[in-house]
Symmetry: C3
Subunit: 338 residues, 3 copies
Amino acid sequence: MASASWNRRHVLSLADFTAAEFETVMETAVSFWQVLSRRTRKVPALQGLVVTNMFFEPSTRTRSSFELAAKRLSADVLNFAPGTSSLTKGETILDTAKTYLAMGTNLMVIRHQEAGVPGAIAAEMDRLNTGVGVLNGGDGLHAHPSQALLDLFTLGLTLDPEQPTASLLAGKKIALVGDILHSRVARSNLWCLTACGAEVHLAAPPTLLPPGFADAFITQSPIDIPRAIVQHSTLAPALEGADFVMTLRLQKERMAQHLLPSLREYHQGFGVTRDRIQSCQPTVKVLHPGPVNRGVEISSDLMDDPALSLISDQVTSGVAVRMALLYLMGVGKKGTEE
Amino acid sequence: MASASWNRRHVLSLADFTAAEFETVMETAVSFWQVLSRRTRKVPALQGLVVTNMFFEPSTRTRSSFELAAKRLSADVLNFAPGTSSLTKGETILDTAKTYLAMGTNLMVIRHQEAGVPGAIAAEMDRLNTGVGVLNGGDGLHAHPSQALLDLFTLGLTLDPEQPTASLLAGKKIALVGDILHSRVARSNLWCLTACGAEVHLAAPPTLLPPGFADAFITQSPIDIPRAIVQHSTLAPALEGADFVMTLRLQKERMAQHLLPSLREYHQGFGVTRDRIQSCQPTVKVLHPGPVNRGVEISSDLMDDPALSLISDQVTSGVAVRMALLYLMGVGKKGTEE
Amino acid sequence: MASASWNRRHVLSLADFTAAEFETVMETAVSFWQVLSRRTRKVPALQGLVVTNMFFEPSTRTRSSFELAAKRLSADVLNFAPGTSSLTKGETILDTAKTYLAMGTNLMVIRHQEAGVPGAIAAEMDRLNTGVGVLNGGDGLHAHPSQALLDLFTLGLTLDPEQPTASLLAGKKIALVGDILHSRVARSNLWCLTACGAEVHLAAPPTLLPPGFADAFITQSPIDIPRAIVQHSTLAPALEGADFVMTLRLQKERMAQHLLPSLREYHQGFGVTRDRIQSCQPTVKVLHPGPVNRGVEISSDLMDDPALSLISDQVTSGVAVRMALLYLMGVGKKGTEE
């Protein structure tokens, strides 16, 4: 299995991912995608390794996806449940991570409500020379790399089901609609899509997408590659001629924060509907990371139309892409620990 | 393994089960029962398939039984935990089910406090041509088919440990005692036992068994077979000459609803005790689906008497019967998805 | 694999463990310790057996350790979650245990906030001739045998990494510091260390270590062997010349109970620091069962110093020792149930 362009112990952010690395993830995910459609859906790749899911911020959906990915690679899975944890007994997060390390954990998937926690744990694992890999399962507003990678894989599969690659994205127009300011999914997708050569058009009300956001974002790029992001304060110019429309989940607490007048008004301005995507490419498809507030970010009939919606495909891609990430991060460990 | 009379994708209710289908479940369960007593208690029957337990209404007992059954068939198991779920984020139940579908779920076991939810999910799975099978793990007051089938298997094993069949029930008198009106276990048992030819005698106070209940129940039968149900408002005539006494769990909230004067008074009228079952057949056995309120539905010493109580046997039967159901529902999937 | 000196169905306490039994645990743990460092970290020893973790008192750390140990022995694992259990429906603890027994459980790991619960369940399992083994995962202030055994294994590995034995402890001075009165870890360690020939020096303020504690403890010994325990009301004499310093977790509720003036004052009197252990042997090492209140029982820098702290080693030892215990308790079952 190809892992030519892969030299990472951790996956914490996509900001410094190169096009070659995106291709490596795509290639690896394709092979697991094929495994999933065979009768025997398991491979012994990570047999004997321990994957620990540490979800300080609860999420059944993402946790199940990682759990299934790990099991299909024949790893043993431990789930850390914050509700019944030592954290309530005053233990620090780093000490919790070190406890799971000492039990024999080889890979940690970490979700936390505060940005930077997976990175801090990864740094500690490196400082201690543990060899353990940390996969960021979503941290605050910072990053959610596996979500953006499964979105990329879903786009690639749509563009060429036989040979999905990251390079297929080059020159595509992608509309990214919704609460961009408060979205780690948006940030990870921006790094990913632009690195693959897509032109990303942002659309949201100014409270969710402040003026200058796109420019400020680009200047933070840790690697020197061209990134094309265009910012709009209305929906129409973002949708016009778009190849794909990515909608983002709207947290209902945004209204309590007076960032939104009402869900109904939001939907009138920025809800994606069958009518509105008429101005897109005829082959346009719509995505959403889930869970969806039906009739808010996207109309219910559009969401359920298999000819237009890729929402289920995203979930399916998730298992293959997470298998690919765990494999790329873990396969070396297995080989060298004899 | 025989599956001649099996043509169901879902198991939602036993109302339209034929005698032949009950025999198929029995035959299949017997073979797994034998597996469970061997040194290697696992079979590779469902290797590579994913069984997702979606217990919206929590239940450790039933969930563990399904989990163990699935693991012994070598399936991968995902457990959906409602407390930490996307449901709190506004996702609909159907969308949650579709998410697990998209991850690769082949069989869903669904428990929900409202009647009809497993059926609604099954209908959606069929509408989408998913091939996914839905097993009702208990829904509202509607049905709990795996519980009634494990009761049937327990009765069959008691009547003929060598060759337990559904037809052994023909002509047997079975007393069903307790909160019949509010019991999905009672309803599923009524469909099952009557279809196998048993005569079921109901006994409960009128608040838990309204006049005319039995007649109204029979008229709802979706298939045209004779069903014998006799209704009593006292315990004695139900017990007289009974081959088996099935007690039902009493929810303590029935008193708050003024349906019962007190637990003590209920026990005086309808509690099953060693004394009272003297009027049954000499070979009588007592059942309870658990968890038991000791000294309410059944006296503590009777419950613990292995010569008279089948309560532990019911739990053991549960694993074999659930293996049989998952096998019958799942085996086709495995064969055809190459 | 040696199991010459092993004749126990249950492990409930270490009070009556002989030196030979401690050696058997050590030998068995060593072999699993070696398994854990190999590429294939699993052994088929308990394939087909069911290990049920019943943690009435929640604990992610200990439960994960047992879960991983059972999985690495290829057992199927059921986790009982008290929050969603039948206990809230009025079922007794014994009935819950019997339900898991009837499902096919072979080994139960039981943690409960009240002393004696694992013993009561074990007695019931024996009364019913079930053959099921019960491992006490911590009960009230009574015992936590697997913790003390993993501490023993950690000490043995430190004294002789090639051939760790219990007999290496003979004549060693071990300081046991902290809330001894309220600690099941302390009690299990006292039985274990003294039986192996170590001299244990207790140090704590009188509210956490009443005068006469050591003498009273020794008189409870169920077996007639010499046990050396010395009691101090200050830290210095316990540390002087010590080979190992075992610190205990301080529950913060002790202050609410007016047993402690403040955490700061406790640390001033009994916190173990780099300075204070200067009076110990030059090879001294420090232990803590976790989770640690940093800067209370032990200073943060000392805890993190791999040259002085064995805290991570204890966690790693835990998996090997729990594999050993489950193996010793379970291996007979597998052989005889054909």
